[in-house]
């Protein structure tokens, strides 16, 4: 089922207006629901109450929660103008008001100021048909953490309703390119998954590629072409400190952290340009070669149990996915369907494999079900889709597609049913990578 894009976009912009503070810089990414094939469930997020010295709370917490639920594609929060009552405390809940509206879940809550820069966010989730509370929490916050607390509340609500862990408190890293003078300006950006709190962590006149999160979300590895040669860097987000961990002759590419964060898989080409997969110990910088074939072996990715490296090799002619034990051994071929399967990424639960797949002349994202004979499902619909990256809940992927000339980001559920576009303010956006779950 396709939903009119215009009306959905309008709804969302209206919501973003509510959620955003006046004068705040526009986020780079805005969400625009493009398409889904399941009916989103009607829910209500009642505007939260506010008790504090200012006229209004520093952040529209309920607006953030509603936007998160809407963006998941699984829920359709109702317009607050259509609500029959607007309770902010459990005692004020009249379940009949919500049964009449056929709302399947109701979220109510309050933000209280408890100090100069101290707040308490309280929310409750109700099932109006059973007349029961499903979950309820009170969480402390400061002005700086209110948004994160709102996302955490949305995560708890989402998990309670779907059984799937929410990813609203996660972040996305991506690369942008825009014309600057005679050349291009490349930026490596980290933002909340809803496009807010965008930070440029590196700016360069030379290409930046292949960002990869450390498992603790504190560092990004990436490829930079500064000095017109490729090298791999690891940058700590909080300090901005960056270390060059590989700058061998020729290709230094495709870094990915091991699940324990101690090793990096990478691609080295050497002076003779034979791209092979290596594993580097980050403490000692010692490198161990895992493949030796004269074909292109690249785009290494760890299995979540840390035992295998999945990689792309064109040893059989076209690019296909193989895997090799991290301890060494013979690679074994994983993909057989189609003539082009590249950029393997395992879902964090290890059950699915996302690839870039040539689907009758179009490069699209496909997901293989590793538990069901590697059955391949194409989940995107563009011509030049690339760089799939799983959300830490294994349920959703983010990838880059094209809108006229420029790259834009889309998310899609791993079953292909809900697909959404993150609208860019401009420039060419590419190589999105979804962060792991935050550690509280």
């Amino acid at each position: 089922m396709k939903i009119s894009m215009l009306s959905r976009t309008f709804l969302l912009v209206a919501l973003a207006g509510l959620a955003g503070l006046a004068g705040q810089a526009a986020a780079e990414l805005r969400v625009e629901i493009t398409e889904w094939n399941i009916e989103p469930a009607p829910v209500a997020v009642v505007p939260f109450g506010w008790e504090g010295s200012a006229a209004a709370a520093p952040l529209d917490v309920s607006g953030v929660i509603a936007a998160d639920l809407r963006r998941s594609g699984r829920f359709a929060p109702m317009d607050s103008d259509d609500m029959l009552s607007r309770p902010t405390r459990g005692a004020d809940m009249d379940f009949d008001d919500w049964r009449i509206l056929k709302v399947e879940a109701v979220v109510i809550g309050r933000v209280e100021q408890t100090g100069d820069n101290a707040y308490s966010v309280q929310f409750q989730l109700f099932d109006p048909f059973r007349g029961t509370q499903l979950v309820g929490y009170r969480m402390p916050a400061s002005r700086g953490t209110l948004r994160r607390v709102a996302h955490r509340a949305a995560d708890m609500i989402y998990e309670e309703l779907t059984g799937i862990k929410g990813v609203f408190a996660t972040r996305v890293a991506y690369v942008t390119a825009e014309a600057r003078g005679n050349g291009q300006l490349y930026r490596l950006i980290v933002a909340d998954q809803d496009g807010e709190n965008e930070h440029t962590i590196l700016e360069s006149a030379d290409p930046i590629m292949s960002p990869a999160w450390s498992p603790d979300s504190r560092q990004l590895a990436y490829v930079s072409f500064e000095g017109s040669r490729s090298s791999i860097w690891v940058q700590t987000l909080r300090t901005g400190n960056r270390l060059r961990v590989s700058s061998e002759p020729g290709v230094n590419g495709a870094p990915a952290f091991s699940p324990d964060g101690r090793q990096l898989v990478l691609t080295l080409g050497g002076a003779d340009g034979n791209l092979d997969i290596y594993v580097m110990d980050l403490a000692t910088r010692n490198k161990r070669r895992l493949t030796t074939h004269r074909a292109i072996d690249t785009e290494g990715s760890w299995s979540p149990d840390g035992r295998y490296i999945y990689f792309n090799s064109d040893r059989a002619g076209g690019p296909q996915i193989y895997r090799v034990p991290v301890s060494g051994g013979s690679p074994e071929r994983v993909t057989f369907e189609g003539g082009y399967n590249a950029r393997p990424r395992l879902s964090p639960d290890g059950k699915k494999l996302a690839v870039v797949h040539n689907d009758r002349g179009n490069f699209r994202i496909a997901v293989l079900d590793l538990e069901r004979d590697n059955q391949l499902v194409v989940v995107s619909a563009g011509r030049q889709d690339e760089s799939p990256s799983f959300a830490p809940n294994s349920d959703t992927l983010i990838y880059a597609t094209r809108q006229s000339r420029d790259g834009v980001l889309e998310t899609v559920t791993a079953d292909g049913l809900i697909r959404q576009r993150l609208e860019s303010r401009g420039g060419d956006v590419r190589e999105p990578v979804w962060s792991p779950f935050p550690r509280y």
Binding site: M209, A271, G273, L275, I296, T298, P319, V356, Q384
Partner: protein, 176 residues
């Protein structure tokens, strides 16, 4: 092949003679195979020969030769071999490199289709094809480096065959 060998043998002598004699101007070296599409233009060569010993050699080491010799080699779709018609361009570069002692960087590129890191591999494969050809013609490996930009630095924006063809290339850059 016979023609190529002749050029390879004859040209170094001409160039060397020219260097020794301190040839001025930009049109004193005979172009073994003039290529109208890559001509540097008459405006430059009409100027006075201001080549003045070795100090200026850095700027115009081979005068018109540098201006006229193409620095970009294009590749067919899904191909990593220098086209037979372009082999001569590579040969002439090998002569320049050998005679000048210069180092070159071979920048390999791919068109935008498919996965970015795999395209880095394809660009490198093209750069290596040119590198091997230079080495066969005697250029020491120490004077050649390669870098692949994959699809990251397109010569032409666009998602059509013309843009793809313009982007599947190796650019030969002189480092000193």
């Amino acid at each position: 092949m016979a023609l190529q060998n002749t050029i390879t043998r004859v040209l170094p002598l001409t160039v060397a003679a020219c260097l020794l004699a301190g040839c001025g101007g930009t049109n004193t070296i005979p172009d073994p195979e003039p290529d109208g599409s890559t001509m540097g233009g008459g405006a430059d060569s009409s100027g006075s020969g201001d080549f003045d010993g070795f100090g200026a050699g850095e700027e115009i080491p081979f005068g018109g030769e540098a201006a006229e010799l193409a620095d970009t080699i294009y590749f067919d779709f899904d191909s990593y071999e220098v086209r037979s018609g372009d082999a001569d361009i590579v040969s002439r570069h090998s002569i320049q490199i050998l005679d000048s002692g210069a180092s070159v960087r071979l920048e390999g590129h791919a068109d935008e289709r498919g996965s970015r890191e795999y395209n880095i591999g394809l660009g490198e494969r093209r750069a290596q094809a040119v590198r091997r050809m230079l080495m066969i013609q005697g250029v020491p490996a120490t004077q050649i480096s390669t870098v692949s930009f994959g699809e990251e630095r397109p010569a032409e924006l666009g998602s059509d065959e013309a843009a793809y063809a313009a982007n599947r290339r190796v650019v030969i850059t002189y480092m000193n």
